[in-house]
Symmetry: C2
Subunit: 146 residues, 2 copies
């Protein structure tokens, strides 16, 4: 079970370039259920997610580059491109995504071990609105938007 | 982790029609990794399997009929049609598959809780050769064969 919250961001941290980051490209074979392929630096990953925004089942499988390229041809909608920064925050890690395609956008995600923990979480001052349940900020939704 | 062995069958049990059975239709979005969609009677299921024949990771997700139909259009190769009988055998259940498409064939599968149990299993007298590791009897392989 994956439990995560998603936030808009008021401003980027000043020291962003201190943190480790990855280049992510991803696309979708299906939105419901979510079947996603992702290239993360030089790794290729297939992910299937069950329904639910705050909490959902998720299965990840490393795949070959050739499989990624084959599956990419079957994807719907647009390809998502973003750089993901990993920012330690207390016992958590903030994943800060700077999207460059299909549109420019910044989103922060934090993963939790329980729903209770997720609901009691308070983000840093540079977080703004919680958009966990807002479908407009689902990556899959972005890929399928006109 | 799914642990299972697969066998050819010398002859069908005489009392086959006593046992519960399901009509299964399935097709593949990908062979490696295995991404399968299945219609089992009136249920629709997405399955993703990691590598490995005797033992492999497996994730199953119920999907809507509309998702099944959408994904079916993205499938490669041929559609598999079979009737699956569930035959109790001691503490196990034999899944006996009578294929009608893409070719006629009979295969039996048994699932285990551990590799040790799988390796020490002895089937009924109507089982013949163990084909667990034989790629010709993989359902995915059958779908992709010319």
């Amino acid at each position: 079970m994956e439990i995560e919250r998603k936030f808009l961001v008021r401003k980027l941290p000043d020291d962003l370039e201190r943190y480790a980051s990855s280049r992510i490209t991803q696309a979708y074979l299906s939105r419901r259920p979510t079947i996603r392929i992702r290239k993360k630096d030089e790794q290729y990953i297939l992910t299937v997610k069950g329904p639910g925004k705050l909490a959902h089942e998720e299965f990840e499988l490393p795949i070959e580059k050739a499989a990624y390229e084959r599956l990419l041809k079957k994807c719907d909608g647009k390809v998502i491109e973003k750089r993901r920064y990993r920012i330690p925050y207390g016992k958590y890690t903030i994943e800060l995504d700077l999207f460059t395609a299909p549109k420019e956008l910044v989103l922060a995600e934090v993963e939790f071990e329980s729903v209770e923990e997720a609901l009691s979480f308070e983000g840093p001052e540079w977080f703004s609105e919680d958009v966990t349940e807002d479908p407009r900020y689902s990556n899959a939704q972005m890929a399928y938007e006109e």
